[in-house]
């Protein structure tokens, strides 16, 4: 009997695994005859499970909404859009596999995502080689578009397939530093990061500017993003008498970190970037994160009339999870791909080029000139593939909600 139950279990698991993998592989026939509609696929890559899934699901749903809207309004004549979303679990390796898979599917004309900068880094090359355009709604590490030496002023674009609708940390970190030092008059910082591309980069740009302003760094620490016990770090922060902690990292570790710093008896508030700007941060940290600050990309969606339409449509579509920090950006990223497809279709007498390689190449080229009024404001890209609409806001946790306190516009020139 025992052996049989074990056997049944094994069989069930195997069948389950097989059917799961079967879901992923579908043989697609691209293109149709002149009268029929061509179906093209827009890929989405984001962490759909795991700690960061709240943000990832928001990205997926918002892209889905964009695709549905485009199909409903017949945005591109003769073309139907479909979404294929893949889960990268916030891991660079998985992201790279997903990228390869999307490249291999010859219906895919563009990819939205990923969320994490280090995942983005691993996907770039795959898409670059295949000339497949990628628009990230959330990658903020500057080197993804401006090359590894951006800080020394040697900006160099590595992949002409990479675009993003979010602001970079090149602005986010220093803006937070200026705001805290000058406006809040907070002079003693404790810097903590999680050593990932995003977190360490953000903490770096922040520290740099904060020191130049005359701020004092009273301590630094690095944590493992998988840890949840930060009591020792909390005690260190409490003893350092820091005015605030700048945390370069994401909310799954950020929320318990902030809570445990408070529990250690410190009055320091925790400040971070867009990856702390999530409802989950407050749910996990509860009262202990009251007063914490986060900068996030863009102006508050409530101030945008286009965003109100988006919020209404999102609600009407009945998604179970909220659109979170990157919803508007994901919608715009997806819409940018749709607009690029539209431009290519218009250029080629109402249809897509015959080969998928040609289609992808032309869409990548068209992306550079895409311009439209999006959920998050005017959307267009500069010569590095970065958004030209560089806005960001500071949010404060007040009464269990992120409330916007300040919005900045970055304008080079």
């Amino acid at each position: 009997m025992r052996h049989r139950s074990l056997l049944i279990l094994t069989a069930t698991v195997t069948v389950g695994a097989l059917s799961l993998s079967a879901c992923g592989s579908r043989d697609g026939k691209s293109g149709g005859d002149s009268g029929e509609k061509t179906t093209v696929v827009i890929g989405v890559d984001a962490p759909l499970t795991g700690d960061l899934s709240a943000l990832g699901q928001g990205i997926k749903n918002s892209s889905d909404l964009a695709v549905k809207t485009a199909n409903k309004n017949d945005e591109v004549k003769g073309v139907t859009f479909k979404l294929e979303s893949l889960d990268d679990q916030a891991q660079a390796g998985t992201g790279q596999q997903n990228a390869t898979k999307l490249v291999g599917n010859d219906q895919v004309v563009g990819v939205v995502g990923p969320l994490n900068s280090h995942v983005g880094q691993s996907m770039q090359k795959v898409f670059g080689n295949a000339h497949l355009v990628q628009v990230s709604p959330a990658n903020t590490a500057p080197e993804l578009s401006q090359g590894p030496n951006w800080q020394k002023g040697q900006k160099k674009r590595l992949f002409d397939t990479y675009f993003r609708t979010s602001t970079t940390d090149a602005v986010q970190g220093p803006y937070a530093a200026q705001y805290l030092y000058n406006k809040r008059k907070l002079k003693k910082a404790y810097i903590i990061d999680d050593k990932k591309t995003y977190g360490a980069g953000l903490a770096g740009t922040f520290t740099d500017e904060f020191k130049k302003l005359g701020g004092k760094v009273v301590g630094t620490d690095h944590i493992n993003p998988d840890d949840r016990d930060f009591s020792a770090v909390g005690t260190k922060v409490a003893k350092s008498k820091a005015d605030f902690v700048y945390y370069g990292g994401e909310y799954p570790a950020g929320a318990p970190l902030s809570a445990q710093i408070t529990k250690a008896g410190s009055k320091a508030l925790v400040v971070g970037g867009d990856a702390l700007y999530s409802e989950e941060y407050i749910k996990l940290g509860k009262k202990n994160v009251e007063g914490d600050l986060a900068t996030s990309v863009g102006a508050p969606l409530e101030t945008l009339d286009t965003a109100k339409t988006f919020m209404k449509d999102y609600k009407a579509a009945g998604y179970k999870l909220p659109y979170e920090a990157y919803g508007g950006y994901s919608y715009d990223s997806t819409w940018a791909i749709i607009q690029a497809v539209k431009a290519v279709v218009e250029k080629n007498d109402g249809k897509l080029p015959d080969t998928i390689d040609d289609t992808r190449k032309q869409i990548t080229e068209a992306m550079q000139d895409v311009r439209f009024e999006g959920v998050t404001g005017d959307v267009s890209f500069d010569k590095y593939g970065d958004t030209t609409n560089k806005q960001l806001s500071v949010y404060e946790v007040k009464d269990g909600k992120h409330k916007p306190v300040k919005t900045g516009t970055f304008q080079e020139g």
Partner: protein, 191 residues
């Protein structure tokens, strides 16, 4: 519909169908297509502005918030007076809706700023408006040197709302400001 028909002319299916049409049918169709093209051109020209292809516009009648309609850029720093530790900044404002620039400051402890002349500046959508600011360094001790992203706090008001916004003016402003600080306070002001 017009662009699909005219654009799809080289497809075999369509050209065959075209040949099969009677003469009068063809004339009628050409006329119709012509009309449609004209109408299409008119529609695309009338609401000026590139690619407004967003679906479902509501609240069209409302003016957007200043944060979305107004851009302020840095032009130059001039009239540096080392004795008085003062200088003037020229900014340039462009906007989509009429907006009032009411107040400008930079939250540095050792720097005061005010509009020059002192009354609010009205910016209209038709043309870029210069905005002048007079700044004074009150103490050389607390001045940051080589900061990368100094920003101005600017209060803007339009028909929709009054907003207190930051304008980050970028690298050129940062370096210009840095140069002024060195001129005013001497090269070894700090560090």
């Amino acid at each position: 519909m017009g662009d699909i028909l005219s654009g799809g002319g080289d497809r075999p299916g369509l050209s065959e169908r075209w040949d099969a049409l009677p003469r009068r049918g063809r004339q009628l169709l050409v006329a119709l297509v012509g009309c449609a093209l004209l109408a299409g051109a008119a529609v695309s020209v009338l609401p000026a502005g590139p690619g407004k292809s967003r679906p479902a516009h509501t609240a069209r009648h409302k003016v957007p918030y200043p944060v979305h309609s107004t851009r302020i850029g840095f032009v130059r720093i001039l009239d540096v007076d080392a004795r008085n530790r003062s200088f003037r900044i020229e900014l340039r404002a462009v906007t989509k809706d009429p907006v009032l620039v009411r107040r400008i400051s930079q939250e540095y402890q050792a720097l005061t700023m005010k509009l020059d002349p002192a009354q609010a500046v009205m910016v209209r959508p038709e043309r870029a408006e210069p905005v002048w600011v007079r700044a004074r360094v009150t103490s050389c001790r607390d001045l940051p040197v080589r900061a990368r992203l100094p920003f101005l706090d600017i209060t803007l008001r339009n028909a929709r709302a009054s907003q207190d916004l930051s304008f980050i003016l970028g690298d050129r402003y940062a370096r210009a400001l840095d140069r002024v600080f060195r001129t005013v306070c001497g090269p070894s002001s700090r560090r």
